[in-house]
Amino acid sequence: MSDLSSSQNGAPKNSLLKVDARTKKRNASEARFKAYGIGAIALGLCFLVTLLVSILGNGVPAFKQTFITIPVELTESKLDKSGTRDLEVMKKVTTFGYKPLVENALVAALEKEGIENPFAKAKDLAKLLSSSAPAQVRDVVLDNPNLVGQTVEFRLLAGSRVDGYFKGRVTRDALARDKNLDAAHLDIADAMVAAGMMDTTFNADFVLGADASESRPEQAGIGVSMVGSLFMMIVVLCLSLPIGVAASIYLEEFAPQNKWTDLIEVNISNLAAVPSIVYGILGLAVFIQFAHLPQSAPLVGGLVLTLMTLPTIIISTRASLKAVPPSIRDAALGIGASKMQSVFHHVLPLAMPGILTGTIIGLAQALGETAPLLLIGMVGFIASNMPDGIASGFLDPNSAMPAQIYEWAKRADPAYYERAWGGIIILLGFLMTMNIIAVILRRRFERRW
């Protein structure tokens, strides 16, 4: 006490009003620490923004495509020599038969518009067009044989480099080293745009169409692999929801405290952290090597992804079962329900919103997973055909969206990079929708006890 009173009598050595050096230091360190925290969050969000900007900036052009609109004369003597319009006979004319028609049509169209054409050979000029153009014409003709002999207006895909020129991917400087296209082609392309023969518009085929071979990026679409992903998700949903719910009910409501239960619980938490590629090895060894299921089939992919998502679903289902208060169970048991009835009639319906939320999040995870699919063979071929029916949808080789994106990312042509980013936009669109549905479900139906 005496110390205190003596210091009060004299002049105060250190006042709380005057900040001394030590306090200053401590306050500064406090401010610094806080700034680190804000900096960390800002950095994290900055990464997120960079990622999103880079996805959108690179991917949006994939949804647009350059088309060339020209009238093509479908000469009868070339396409249907017999004149019978018999499909079987007409099918014998391959795309090589259609190629000169398309090339000449392009030359004629340029002449008509008065665009200067420096190329002597129609073949050189036709580099403006996608190499799929003859096949495009052939498909239309075979669908509608009566068009033969007429001059029909076609909207043909432009070559990927021409397309890239309008999207800013291909520059005149870069073409100097490219033997597929000359600067002269680009002059013609500019003139064609001015004449309204060439335009860059939304390309539905990218969303709905099939993959194309390595040399034709302008034709590739993600539609078929989307169907593959859909079939895989059906498998995942049909297996992982019932199995996951059943397992969680057992572990949460019935399991006695013993070694076996412990083992299962440890197993589940470990499986949730096993690298996904290991599931791919499992799928390869068990489903393909051992059980001889077809390679690259969405069924196998679905099975592997089911095993991978089960732990996630079980963990979230158990959490929502746990959230149902014991009074509900007690009340049900009290009026004579069996344990099983109390769970299935009362606890499960109340936990359902939480379970569905967890399942949707698990499905979203499965939808974006790539690594296990690589090992069971869902890459490395061209997913060019839509499945014919439900059985072939499950069993025929197909790709999946992330696998297709990987496949495109591996191809050397930069035009495929754009497709890969475009595919990512679609994939993220699906994931976002699923997550939003999960959030809405949780907000609307989840009860707080």
């Binding site: 401590r26 960390a40 990622l51 057992y250 590629i277 390869l284 060894a285 079980i314 994931l431």
Partner: protein, 489 residues
């Protein structure tokens, strides 16, 4: 009868059982539900389950066992001089199966009569015949393959007939027994619930089965690999140079080095950022800031890894080359190509930020408020409280979170496949391309190699190593986290 139709038949039998069982017990009770032990639906369900379980169980068992038996008997009839070892026999048998399937298809499409399919000999153009049906065969069919295929068909057909009869018989038997036992005093609910409980236990055991499946699929192939390639060279070899022509050097050390280098860089990015973000969010941020920043950070966790991979390949790689490469902004010429340890490490770090921040956030939040209050009451500033009280208290949990993140980084595939490159080398330069365990698993198993060569089998040994390492990390991390949680609960 094909398995699908058999399945449907059995299902119909089960449904009939449900209706009949219910009807019978209601008749027994004279329509008075109060005289029954259980609700009427339980009696129906009891009969249905008694019909379905034995028949479907038998069906599944049969479908698994029959091909094995048929294959074994057919294989034993192929003259031994036609194949060298068990691998060759396997290839031969897959030919046999394909021919047999082709013949069956030919019969079902009417291209052959059933008798004609059995009468074919090596002299007939079987390959051309099957080629017309869209079944491509690599080579012309040897006589013994055709004979084996015909035997395979006969045996499978007989087996299928016996299966049909046996499955339906089992279903009908179960059905009849259960229906006879149905009476108003029968405790139907108890038996139905027992079955349901068994199903629940079965579902829970799938987790264990998955682990067993993983371990077995890795172990068998790994043992096979070590028979062909010495284990010490695998674990201590410093060169990774697989060549499918033979004479490969398959040392795991360069792969390990690449894996750990990339993981360390990713943790160096993710741990400080994630930890500071978690501290700020749980200790400083108001509810509004928390409500916005936390979900936004977690968006990073929801983005599929293929997106990060592409981001590394196309955006980050070229950007780093622009900074550190030849003619780069720093003029240092450290980096030759976009694929490098740094590229993959940085991007993986970004991916791990939300992982670390949300785990640490939970752990920091579970430190009791009393400890904060005590420290603040003694005059410590907020940051001193955090540094000297909260973080030490939360340390074990944070270490657990970092270990879990490390195990993720080691097992991550897509980012390194696209961002890290393919060259296996032991180097300290983080701007060089290196390769990882997961990348090599993908490249060894997606090639056209057959599964009996050491170059393909090595992937299983790599997978085994990866599995063991991540498993150890996970177990240690989970133990730490769990132990810590108990302290404050």
């Amino acid at each position: 009868m094909p398995a699908l139709w058999l399945f449907i038949t059995v299902l119909v039998l089960g449904l009939a059982g449900f209706v009949l069982g219910r009807k019978r017990v209601m008749a027994d009770a004279g329509g008075d539900i109060r005289k029954l032990h259980s609700l009427p639906n339980y009696y129906g369900a009891n009969v249905m389950l008694s019909a379905l379980i034995p028949s479907l169980g038998l069906l599944v068992l049969w479908l698994i066992v029959q091909p094995m038996i048929v294959q074994a008997t057919v294989a034993s009839h192929i003259p031994t001089e036609n194949y060298a070892d068990s691998g060759a026999l396997n290839l031969l048998m897959s030919d046999v199966r394909r021919v047999a399937d082709g013949l069956t298809l030919a019969v079902s499409q009417g291209a052959l009569s059933p008798q004609a399919a059995q009468d074919l000999t090596g002299a007939d153009d079987v390959r051309g015949l099957l080629g017309n049906l869209g079944i491509a065969l690599g080579t012309d069919i040897e006589d013994y393959v055709l004979t084996a295929a015909q035997e395979y068909r006969v045996k499978s057909n007989t087996g299928n007939w016996i299966m049909t009869v046996a499955v339906i018989a089992a279903g009908v038997l179960g059905f009849a027994l259960a229906l006879r036992a149905t009476s108003k005093s029968h405790r139907a609910r108890n038996s139905v619930e027992k079955v349901i409980l068994a199903l629940l236990i079965g579902a829970a055991s799938i987790a264990v089965l998955t682990t067993i499946g993983i371990v077995f699929s890795l172990i068998f192939n790994t043992i096979e690999f070590f028979k062909l390639y010495p284990a010490d060279e695998f674990f201590f070899g410093t060169t990774w140079a697989p060549s499918f022509g033979g004479g490969s050097e398959l040392g795991i050390l360069p792969l390990f080095w690449g894996t750990f280098y990339i993981s360390i860089i990713s943790l160096l990015v993710a741990v400080p950022i994630g930890l500071f973000a978690a501290v700020y969010l749980s200790e400083y941020a108001g509810p509004k800031m928390r409500g916005i920043a936390k979900p936004l950070l977690e968006v990073l966790a929801g983005i599929p890894t293929i997106v990060y991979g592409l981001f590394a390949l196309i955006t980050v790689g070229p950007m780093l080359v622009g900074l550190f490469g030849k003619d780069g902004s720093f003029g240092v010429n450290w980096m030759q190509g976009g694929s490098a340890v740094m590229t993959a490490g940085l991007v993986m770090g970004v991916m791990l930020i939300p992982f670390i921040s949300s785990l640490s956030d939970d752990i920091i939040n579970s430190v009791p408020q009393a400890m904060r209050d005590g420290s603040l009451g003694l005059g410590a500033t907020k940051s001193e409280t955090i540094k000297q009280v909260i973080l030490p208290a939360a340390l074990p949990g944070i270490v657990g979170a970092i270990l879990l993140a490390a195990s993720r980084a080691i097992g991550e595939t897509m980012i390194v496949v696209l961002g890290a490159g393919a060259a296996a080398r032991l180097s300290m330069n983080p701007f060089e391309a290196m390769t990882t365990v997961t990348t090599r698993i993908v490249s060894q198993l997606t090639g056209d190699a057959d599964f009996s060569s050491p170059e393909a089998l090595v992937a299983f040994a790599l997978g085994m190593t990866l599995f063991v390492i991540t498993l150890c990390l996970n177990i240690v991390a989970l133990l730490i986290v769990r132990k810590y949680r108990e302290q404050y609960d």
